[in-house]
Point group: C2
């Protein structure tokens, strides 16, 4: 009957041990757990999040931190930064929470001026990639794309036949709402994924970043009861206290986040570790991993 204590071992996300490794990534050291691998990482395996591309969204319940990715969506990221710096998002609200799908925030009154920012921009659904740019491919097949992996710490896909690359809709990714016109979004309405990766949205929406802290403050909000998860009444909405760039926040109010470099040897070891979970709990290691199941470690450097 002593059933709760064993729960600690149950469904455990950490502490696997690797016993086998197929090509192409190098094999991790045997017996290494995820915690071991991260503990053995070098400082050079980590990168500081750029305060110019780090967003603090203050909700009444706490702070959500988003890393923007200008390499994939330079126009939209620049426009969103203009909106942020001119105070566009302060006092807006989360207007939609659809279960197993998205949380979305916008101007519920549709009255806010975009100031010097653009209302709409040409879409940035995908782009040509350079052979020289970092991309850490996963060795397993993907349902939706010829190749998936990680670019600059973000989940991404590539099609060698077209030379195109794009970010993928994984849990926590942030995208730009738009109307039916592909070029009708500008960043005034944003959403974050809070469910199983809706990969059918890939290359249909401009993705601009990823929530690196505080996604649970959004994913645990009550679901809206109107069509598509919109809230029925204004009272149900969650107010957005403020949205600021980390670069514009006083040093005392900043957190110094570091992210594991996805082009590091440590991340390669982590991929193998996650593909082959052979520990006391796992009986049938999957031997595979999809691009939306890889942890992308982020640490609070200032907390040490």
């Amino acid at each position: 009957m002593a059933r709760l204590a064993p729960l600690i071992a149950l469904l455990i996300l950490a502490a696997p041990q690797v016993v086998a490794a197929p090509p192409p990534p190098p094999p991790p050291p045997p017996e290494a757990s995820m915690a071991d691998i991260l503990a053995a990482s070098a400082p050079s395996d980590w990168r500081m999040l750029d305060p110019e591309n780090t967003v603090y969204m203050q909700l009444p319940s706490g702070r959500v931190i988003i890393e923007l990715e200008p390499r994939f969506a330079p126009r939209h990221v620049a426009n969103i930064k203009t909106l942020i710096r001119e105070g566009y998002f302060n006092g807006l609200a989360i207007v939609r929470v659809q279960d197993d799908y998205v949380v979305q925030w916008a101007d519920p009154d549709e009255k806010r001026s975009v100031g010097t920012a653009a209302v709409a921009l040409k879409a940035e659904f995908d782009r040509l990639f350079e052979r020289s740019e970092p991309f850490t491919p996963l060795p397993d097949p993907d349902t939706y794309a010829p190749s998936t992996g990680f670019a600059d710490g973000f989940p991404a896909a590539r099609d060698p036949a077209t030379g195109k690359t794009w970010l993928t809709h994984c849990y926590g990714m942030v995208g730009v709402g738009r109307d039916n016109d592909a070029d009708s979004g500008g960043g005034t309405e944003l959403y974050a994924v809070i469910g199983h990766a809706p990969r059918q949205l890939d290359r249909n929406v401009t993705l601009v970043g990823r929530v690196v802290r505080g996604i649970e403050l959004m994913s645990s909000l009550p679901r809206g009861t109107e069509a598509l998860g919109f809230y029925k009444t204004a009272a149900e909405r969650t107010p957005i206290v403020s949205v600021k760039l980390a670069a514009d926040v006083a040093a005392a109010d900043r957190v110094s986040l570091v992210a594991l470099r996805t082009d590091s040897a440590t991340f390669q070891k982590l991929i193998q570790n996650r593909r082959f979970r052979k520990d006391d709990w796992y009986k049938t290691p999957a031997g595979h991993i999809d691009v939306c199941n890889m942890p992308l470690p982020v640490r609070d450097f200032s907390a040490k």
Copy 2:
């Protein structure tokens, strides 16, 4: 600036139109939306949920309904039904909510007797399949399994090389917590998936069913702040008012749910519809779908 109204069209889950169809499933009628396909369905495309395998879990916020799947886990389903009928779960609690992973319920005090039920059972991670049993395969590659599709309305996988089949860890699937020993679970601790499909758990846990109503009552709960999402204090837990089988509930308190048969021609059309979303909003139809992104329609028959 009139940006909110177009949100209705944004990220819309319904109303796609199909323009192309690859083998092997038959092509859907052009211009048919998901709503059209369901509206054109025949009564024989739907099956009544068996009250003997339908669970009502009453939370303070409302009712969660789970369909059990005895074909994949006969021993565990029978044991869970014994636990339910003997009142095991009444007054227990949701003890763990881990973001992008699982909600779990158990006896937090570890004192409850299992009555005539078993504490632990031999695992039912997978089983041999018969050639004659219904299985609706998806035509797209899966990262984790040689073949994925749907059996009896549940997401499942097959390996033709071994003749084995198993249920897959999609959003809303319900599984049996266990200790390190594969045969240490019995159904006294259950969890539901509330995040991106943790497919690494496939064939490592006995899956027993799927939440067909009310998953949002669990997925929107505050996340636990202890390791693995356990709640720190008893006060944070959500009490379970009662757990009953629909068969044991008075007719007036039952809902008559019907589920779309996954071996119906209508479901085949729906697969094609979800693979090729070609409507006014989608610009790049994925042309693929993974087993955890297919809607599994359930209707309240009694509401009509």
